[in-house]
């Protein structure tokens, strides 16, 4: 059922909610949180649809705050609140209020939202687009335990990541981070299967997709190895290559849905890694409402430290030297692999395996040498 209110106030909206519930005969509902969606008219429909889908997993009161643009000085001085109250089948499993703010009141949205929050239940604010620079200090963001932004939807995602790192407050989170959970989980599962030390990583994906940077930073942060971010034409993330002391581990997803996991010495395996809908991302985001410390640590790692040699290695040395060092390291790696293969066949290693281990090592050395000048060029530009 839908109730339209024009030029209204929060207390009238509250009355309409009670009236709507009475009318459909469910006076008490087990809603577990309030989800506030702050958006513009253009993105409201898609965001609300995703929230309604997610509400099947997390019954919630959804407040959509739409700030209308005023196009004349007269509009700006007049202020008006329109509301659309939806309960029952029209609102997923929960209640939805679409709030349209005109003129001056759009600068005071928190005064409308505050009386409409569910008592004693957590509040989540989600900005599908145009997230404030400092979510925690935004008047609406300050009401929430959890603030969800989406750097993917911004003009300069990578720069925005740095901004998020500067203003990070516990409770902040980003859908670009949520998007890579299946990748992270699959990579962790891949490392469960082998006892190898990772030497270097390459994360490949489309440009302007902050998920690639976040994944790269996560790997760099956890593994403490150099991580290279390289570009492809997408869709989204396309591959992660890990160089380990027992050969490469590659997770490759060319088509955005089915990926291949290849581990040296093991058969290739198909794994489902479909790009997920916004509704699924929001549902995952609402599953835990405590601060995401892993995300914090990844953000703090810093985008600018990607593509560089880790602190523990030769910092400040000549690029050429670094290349040589890397090549030497790679050769050593290959040698180690050969040595390992030559160890009495405890695990049934065959000479063929030793050869196989050697090849990627050499290839790595060449690649490393070849890439170094490019990186230097990039640094100069």
């Amino acid at each position: 059922m839908k109730i339209d209110l024009t030029d209204t106030t929060a207390s009238k909206v509250n009355k309409a909610l009670v009236q709507g519930r009475r009318a459909i005969g469910t006076p008490a509902v087990g809603m577990v949180l309030t989800l506030v969606i702050v958006t513009d008219e253009e993105n409201a429909y898609d965001a609300l649809r995703a929230a309604n889908d997610a509400s099947h997993e997390h019954p919630s009161r959804t407040l959509v705050v739409i700030k209308r643009v005023s196009r004349s000085p007269r509009d700006r001085t007049q202020s008006r609140l329109d509301a659309e109250v939806r309960v029952g089948a029209d609102a997923g499993s929960g209640e939805t209020v679409v709030l349209r703010l005109y003129g001056e009141v759009s600068d005071h949205a928190q005064s409308v939202v505050l009386p409409l929050l569910l008592p004693d239940a957590p509040v989540v604010v989600w900005w599908p687009v145009n997230a404030p620079l400092d979510p925690a200090n935004d008047p609406l963001g300050a009401l929430a335990q959890r603030r969800v932004t989406d750097t993917y939807a911004s003009e300069q995602p990578v720069r925005e990541l740095s901004a998020r790192a500067d203003t990070y407050t516990p409770g902040d989170t980003d859908l670009s981070w949520t998007r890579i959970t299946p990748w992270r989980s699959m990579l962790a599962a891949a490392l469960d299967q082998v006892v190898c030390e990772v030497k270097a990583v390459e994360v490949e994906g489309e440009e302007f997709n902050p998920s690639c940077e976040l994944l790269a930073m996560w790997l760099a942060d956890r593994l403490d190895v150099p991580v290279k971010r390289s570009l492809s034409s997408g869709p989204g993330l396309t591959a992660v290559r890990m160089d380990t002391d027992c050969g490469p581990i590659v997770l490759d997803r060319a088509d955005g849905s089915l990926a291949t996991l290849s581990i040296q010495g093991q058969p290739d395996r198909a794994v489902a890694l479909k790009r997920r809908e916004t509704a699924e991302l929001i549902a995952e985001e609402l599953r835990r409402l405590d601060p995401d410390d892993t995300y914090a640590s990844v953000l703090r790692f810093g985008v600018e430290r990607l593509n560089s040699v880790p602190a523990s290695a030769v910092r400040g040395a000549e690029a050429a030297e670094a290349a040589v060092a890397k090549a030497v390291q790679a050769v050593a790696l290959a040698e180690a692999a050969v040595a390992k293969a030559e160890v009495p066949p405890a695990k049934g290693a065959s000479p063929a395996k030793g050869e196989a281990a050697e090849t990627p090592g050499e290839a790595d050395a060449q690649e490393a040498a070849a890439q170094e000048p490019m990186k230097k060029a990039a640094a100069n530009s």
Binding site: E57, S93, S185, D192, P267, R269, R288
Partner: protein
Amino acid sequence: MPPFTVTEANPLRDAADRRLPRIAGPSGLVIFGVTGDLSRKKLMPAVYDLANRGLLPPGFSLVGFARREWAHEDFAQEVHDAVKEHARTPFREEVWHQLIQGMRFVQGTFDDDDAFERLRGTIEELDKAQGTGGNFAFYLSVPPRSFPVVIQQLKKHGLADQTGGSWRRAVIEKPFGHDLNSAEQLNKVVHEVFAPDQVFRIDHYLGKETVQNILALRFANTMFEPIWNRSFVDHVQITMAEDIGIGGRAGYYDGIGAARDVIQNHLLQLMALTAMEEPASFDADALAAEKTKVLGAVRLPKDLGRDTVFAQYAAGWQGGEKAVGYLQEEGTDPRSKTDTYAAIKLGIDNRRWAGVPFYLRTGKRLGRRVTEIAVVFQRAPHSPFDTTATEELGQNAIVIRVQPDEGVTVRFGSKVPGTSMEIRDVSMDFAYGESFTESSPEAYERLILDVLLGDSNLFPRTEEVELSWKILDPIEEYWDQHGRPAQYPSGTWGPVEADEMLKRDGRSWRRP
């Protein structure tokens, strides 16, 4: 939940990173009796749902073993159909593609040595092609009489041998024997081949969210535990009712009966969870210790004829359909004494529960399908209201609705709006469907994942099974020697004898 099993060596695993799900390590599942109903309706869909939620390792393999003449493709087709029909989550092509690569079928009977050799070959081939690392769980979805054969065959063909850090596990379904003796024998057979910690007994009730929630309700909150004892609780009723009859399962059911089929495992487990003391931690050992303790403290009524009832459904109408009586069911011995309804009263001899009766009942062809635990509280010791005001007030109760319509109800008195003082029962309701996902995982999903992870929290142990039989055996023996089962019309809430049994104690059954 148990502490996340972190592989110490894996730098990508971090206990603080709670988005990462518990993914099983490289492994495979072999299902014996894969053409059966359980496998089609529950196991295969559960495997798909797990894969769809990204909880299965890459390369996970599913091997079916049955008599039917199938090729791998026929088997895959069968799984495909079962998944499409019964899976909880939507069908997705890429997930199916991932699963199908590891699907194999082995044709044979349980006494066929060649078939088990082929099974071993298949497992070795999967280790190579899918990287399952020799880790396999054998799910015995087979009739009890085939248990020993299959277990022995697994041993004979070296399929139960764990080599080089890999694991082999056995998953068995109820019934775990039909009395203490047979249960001990079965345990002996199984443990001869598989180590006790590699044997997983499925009691699918324990995989249900509502059952796990009993522990959360009791031990994560402060407001319930202080009154969860003899000072406040009057009695506890645990009910599991089915609206269906025995269907075509006369061969299995006759001679087993409701008490062995349901009370011995499900109801006694529910009772143990309701009555046990707080475990020191939430790991499998601590839980089992508390459950064993409380099952060991169970006391049978002195007069079994007075405080137990067994009965059979007679012809009648069930939910608008005509139903035949148990003795008229096809394949049933017309003189059968098998119980389709059983109600028993148990006591627990410890400080918390002394003097509080636990009434357990189960039956087929009852009013509706429902499972619930009702903790009924004593009346207020003194009421300032006069008796007319509280005439309609019953006893306070906390009801844990296990299925369907999962949730918790609290019943208490409230003033009826109006000028006079009149107090009536009202209920306050928490429904899973309202507060959480409409898609909580199926019990089998959770249990299969736990088997692959090696988490034995939700699986009853040998001691628990044997203790349960110790409780039930004297009752079965008594029924066997005294009288015939009472009769109740199909579609009602059981025989009058059961109502009288509670009436003698000054109580009555809840209508669930």
